[in-house]
């Protein structure tokens, strides 16, 4: 029996590590590296890491240590990792979350413990409205907003008969709601597909029958790849225009190829932006990783810069929570998207653009900026946030 006890004890105590004061500020990144969506977390991580590397291990002049863990897109695992980061590594800053469900499981609990959470992507409405929190900041967008941009774009284009396709789940319906908030024309049809559906032949046939002016689609990740390929094969590419929120980021384009040409998508950033911060970011990212950064990488990079700006303000002393929060609220950092500030719910107030997928001169498939749709646009839930 003693033998077993000893063995079990050894296992438990193996990763013993003590936090010592005066060490670099630890930042815990809970992100999705496995599952089909693993490349999103990879982009965010690489963007964030680039900012740390460019500062030679420092953010805002303060030495930092980045701890990365894969949540496997599971809320349960996200919670477990947060627990480990906070209890074992004494992390006071968390970031990285890609998906709303993980954020919803992790954020409320950790902010109650006084930890700061800077989301580089996930922005569920529940954390923007009544459930907003003093310690939660989002540097990307509230989930609906990118669809609002497309809604406004459709209205501006004078479309009057739009077909809607989205998966039958919360983010899908939120996005459709966001689209309808700014779209003024008629609806040719509305179809909700199964989450993770692979084959869209049935939906595309029905869509063709409905003969709409344009199609609004919200199909993130692999669903979007499947849909775009099948849409082109059905001979509808270029016949009925496609538009949707940032579904067609750079790495997805690589998987879809020419079938994506013509898709209009919305974003708050583009690799073409001509400001000093963005030029430096895009060039450094390409040099380090050999590919063009996507929207998600830009968000990871901005999250790092934001944290750096606040760390500088408190001189790396994470015990000065109020000063740290105040510095975050100021958002005093050179965002790669240009102008950037926080609303009172700690979600961005920023400009939004539409981009179109085109074939570039060298035969690559890239996003080209079409124009600005919203200026200083807040999200739809900010008013419900009780924060002052």
């Amino acid at each position: 029996m003693n033998r077993y006890l000893a063995a079990v004890l050894c296992c438990l105590l193996l990763p013993l590590s003590m936090a010592v004061a005066g060490e670099p500020v630890k930042i815990g990144m809970i992100t999705t590296l496995s599952t089909k969506a693993g490349y999103l977390g990879e982009e965010i991580r690489d963007g964030f890491r680039l900012a740390v590397d460019l500062g030679q291990g420092r953010l805002g002049g303060i030495p930092v240590e980045l701890l990365v863990a894969d949540d496997g897109r599971s809320p349960e695992k996200g919670r477990q990792i947060a627990e480990r980061f906070i209890r074992r590594d004494h992390v006071r800053i968390l970031t990285g979350t890609v998906f709303s469900n993980v954020a919803l499981a992790v954020v409320p609990k950790v902010v109650r413990q006084g930890v700061f959470f800077i989301s580089p992507n996930a922005g569920p409405s529940r954390l923007a409205g009544e459930g907003c929190s003093a310690n939660f900041f989002n540097v990307s967008w509230q989930t609906d907003t990118l669809s609002e941009v497309i809604g406004q774009y459709a209205t501006d284009q004078g479309f009057d008969n739009v077909y809607i396709i989205a998966p039958n789940y919360v983010a899908g319906r939120d996005n459709v709601a966001g689209f309808r908030r700014y779209y003024r024309g008629g609806i040719a049809g509305e179809v909700y597909t199964a989450l993770g559906q692979a084959d869209y032949a049935a939906e595309i046939a029905a869509l063709r029958k409905a003969a709409p002016d344009a199609v609004y689609f919200f199909l993130p990740g692999g669903m979007g790849i499947n849909f775009l390929k099948q849409y082109a094969q059905a001979g509808l590419q270029g016949v009925i225009p496609l538009m949707g929120p940032a579904a067609t980021d750079g790495r997805l384009l690589g998987a879809v190829g020419e079938a994506a040409v013509g898709v209009v998508n919305s974003a708050q950033w583009s690799s073409e932006f001509d400001n000093p911060a963005n030029r430096r970011f895009v060039a450094a990212f390409r040099k380090m990783y050999g590919r063009t950064p996507t929207l998600f990488a830009s968000q990871g990079y901005d999250a790092a810069l934001l944290i750096g700006s606040a760390l500088r303000a408190v001189g790396g002393d994470m015990n000065r929570s109020d000063a740290f929060r105040a510095a975050l609220e100021k958002a005093d950092f050179p965002s790669v998207r240009g102008r950037f500030r926080f609303g009172r719910n700690h979600f961005p107030i920023q400009d939004y653009y539409v981009r179109q997928v085109v074939k570039s001169g060298d035969g690559g498939i890239v996003n080209r900026l079409l124009g600005r749709v919203f200026t200083d646009h807040p999200d739809a839930y900010a008013d419900r946030c009780p924060l002052q």
């Binding site: 029996m1 077993y4 006890l5 079990v8 004890l9 296992c11 438990l12 105590l13 193996l14 990763p15 013993l16 003590m18 590296l33 496995s34 990365v68 863990a69 894969d70 897109r73 599971s74 809320p75 349960e76 919670r79 477990q80 627990e83 480990r84 906070i86 209890r87 074992r88 709303s100 469900n101 919803l104 499981a105 409320p108 609990k109 569920p124 529940r126 039958n168 789940y169 919360v170 983010a171 319906r173 199964a194 989450l195």
Partner: protein
Amino acid sequence: MAAETTRSGLVFCGGCFLLLLVLPPLLDLAGQQYLLSLACRALIYGLAASSLNLILGYGGMVSLGHAAFVGIGAYTVGILARSGPGSGLVAWPLAVVLAMLFALLTGAVSLRTRGMHFIMITLAFAQMVYFFFTSLETCGGTDGIPLSGRNLLPGLDLNDDRVFYYLCLGLLTLLLFLLHRLIHARFGRVLVGSRENEQRLQVLGLATFGHRLLAYCLAGGIAGLAGALLANLGEYVSPSMLHWTRSGEIMVMVLLGGTGTLAGPVLGAFVLLFLEDYLAMYTEHWMAILGPVLILVVLFARGGLYPLLAGHGRQR
């Protein structure tokens, strides 16, 4: 399956129990408090795996849909908690009853089949539950339901992690004891007999179908309780609890620990969860290690880890 009645089996189980009993202060001493919630999760999964073991290990019913019961239990707690944390005395029994009811309905159909058909039909029912909850907006869809706190129980503050841990340990011990009694009673003998040779029992005039269905419902109910506990532990209910890979993981726990042994599934839950956690800390490609480890266990540690550790061959 008489392994735990032998001396070394008893010593092993007793040792483990004592270790679990002193685990919280031990972790405090080592400054590893964060492991408490992982241990707690392992206890709960151990409960779910034990319930699967009842039908799988003793009854020979290989169900690949056990996550459905866990999920139903968790969602019961989640839906009731939407208007604030309610009493556990209401939510938990309801979770058990609903999971049993689902087990009764699906079991009545599934148990008509055997072998691989049974594996697949349980999987199909679990998939139905998965799609049902992900497409229901009132259940939070794919986002799941965040809880504002743990359930309330008279005299116990469940929001204290240590209290919750001891509650889980207590429930697990109690249910393991009851399962032990059940299996060594006539019910258990019929169940095991129906695995070995159903026709002979039927000739003897024993209603094996009824016994099997009852075992199926009991297993469902216990898994439902595990789901309710899991929802409380994470203060979150999500459809990922219902995903078919979760059913697979619970089955892995049973096999890893040792099918048809009382303590095996709990051991399996601890080993799998801790292994996952440690591997993930050292490499992001932890699944490339975990996969082959599972295969090696199947190939070389026949009968799971429990007989190996407690010094037994599998006794079937």
